[in-house]
Symmetry: C2
Subunit: 319 residues, 2 copies
């Protein structure tokens, strides 16, 4: 029986899991809906999912990815705004490790996705790259000199509250003009609703049959692809703002590649062309010396679980 590494990715809607062999082959995957019954129920489901993925071989390590702020050294959750219940202080990885008799490590979900792209996706062969994941919120991860950059406590990569505009709209974090307030899936949905209510995107309005509650980044992207000028402007504005962020990251970190993940990346050339225009406009002089390419993520929604798995393998080998 080959030993295996298990990764569990806790999301607001689903818990996803994966198991890989020491050489990185996928051995199993699975998911559970995220319970609304509180933290204990969610942790029990994470354990049960990990146990089922671990069947067939001894578990050599478990990676647990969560969508929030955590203390990596202590393995302790600090702030998890998008999962029901009070997670503060919960040592989620240790609980899985004790239940399954294996070493376990806690990490942020976008750092896990970055680690997955590094080993299995669009970051392969790149020693210096940055990932930004544009979902409801916006997260990030940095790989520098071939290593995942963690910072003093594992928080490095929090691009969502990078200031884009000193006069920008208020953000849920208490700040203003943040990436999340201006270029996230949530912000795009709000912008889409406002535009439809103002009569500015007839194609989008028709697509959602007048129900603005159905406006999402996906419906906006579809309306834009179908030729709705208003929806197209929204996607392009998001691209321009992501371009400002990517320009900041290029200057600050000198990556060779920037990977854009999350649903927004599916908008394709409409988005990426506008990102490129913004980059040329803002930091073209610099990119002549330090070129980057900006590409969509290669991995899909399983990247958090896959990255947590690879992280467990990495940590277990280092230990």
């Amino acid at each position: 029986m080959t030993s295996r590494y298990v990764g569990i990715d806790l999301g607001g809607t689903f818990i996803k899991g994966m198991a890989i062999s020491p050489s990185g082959e996928t051995l199993a995957s699975g998911s559970r809906p995220t319970s609304r019954q509180g933290v204990d129920a969610v942790v029990a489901d994470m354990i049960s999912l990990a146990r089922s993925l671990g069947e067939g071989g001894p578990i050599a390590g478990i990676g647990v990815a969560v969508p929030g702020v955590l203390d990596m050294a202590a393995g302790e959750v600090l702030f998890l705004p998008n999962v029901a219940g009070d997670w503060r202080g919960r040592r989620a990885a240790r609980e899985l490790g004790e239940a399954l008799g294996a070493p376990a490590w806690l990490m942020n979900d976008v750092r896990a996705a970055t680690f997955a792209e590094m080993h299995f996706g669009a970051g392969r062969g790149y020693k210096d790259f940055v990932m930004i994941a544009v979902g409801t919120g916006v997260g990030g991860g940095i790989v520098s000199a071939g290593r995942l950059l963690l910072g003093s406590a594992g928080h490095a990569g929090e691009v969502g509250h990078n200031a884009l505009d000193a006069q920008g709209p208020d953000c849920s974090c208490g700040g203003w003009g943040c990436v999340e307030a201006m270029a996230s899936g949530k912000a795009l949905s709000v912008q889409g609703r406002e535009l439809v209510e103002a009569g500015g995107a007839p194609g989008l309005r028709a697509l959602v049959e007048g129900d603005v509650a159905r406006i999402t980044p996906a419906t906006i992207a579809r309306a834009a692809a179908a030729g709705d000028d208003g929806a197209r402007s929204l996607v392009r504005d998001t691209g321009f703002r992501l371009g400002i962020l990517i320009g900041n990251l290029a200057l600050l970190l000198n990556p060779r590649r920037v990977i854009v993940g999350g649903g927004i990346a599916q908008a394709g050339a409409m988005l990426f062309d506008r990102i490129a225009e913004c980059l040329e406009h803002r930091v073209g002089w610099y990119l002549r010396y330090a070129p980057i390419d900006v590409v969509p993520a290669a991995l899909g929604e399983e990247s958090g679980a896959l990255g947590a798995t690879a992280w467990a393998r990495d940590r277990a080998v280092a230990a």
Copy 2:
């Protein structure tokens, strides 16, 4: 005869140099005015300074810091806007190394200053810190997991053109709303002149005897310290904008400390208190989980040469 490491820091006004022993003791230092006679003359002066600092022992390595963009691997200057002459393609470090018969390495001056703070200054004992140097322009350096972060070609740390304000003033780089356009020594001088011309800073006007060409960050800081409300506002606005930048860096890199160097740091509490207010306002929620301290640089104008020296030692030992 003890071997020694020599560092040369090329600035727009002076070439500075230093020599240290393998254990880091300062053995010699010196400077030359930066010649206006062209690149060859400047390089000859750099060689002559390095030679004089190398007297008394074999030179084990030479670090050469320059104020611009360069290719570290090739040791080649790419863009040096603040030193007269056409430096493009010049392998300045190699020329010094060949003249003096020692291995030599080229680096950016603020990365050198960051390396100096890491070994001898306010970064000692910190595995994760960021430096920003606010002079005429604004540069930066990043230390992560105890190592100077270089990025794919050694450019990492270019904070000067981080976007602060999507509607901010044009920047000399071709972009707009950049840190350099809004919170540099150059920007502060422009703001001071405009304010005095509009009658807004009588104390500052008196200090420079009505001659707006004499308005500099230093005179603004002096007028502010003497109680001129207009000058005080300018310093505080600069602090707030630096706070936005530092907030971005804290989120992105999770440093434990941020070091502020350059003349502006001498404004003291007036500046640092405003930085702290901005940080609390913008990213207070995050800093509860990931605290930072923001401190002035410990080293002065010799930090570029000292850092280049230490870099040569580091590279020579690694080689």
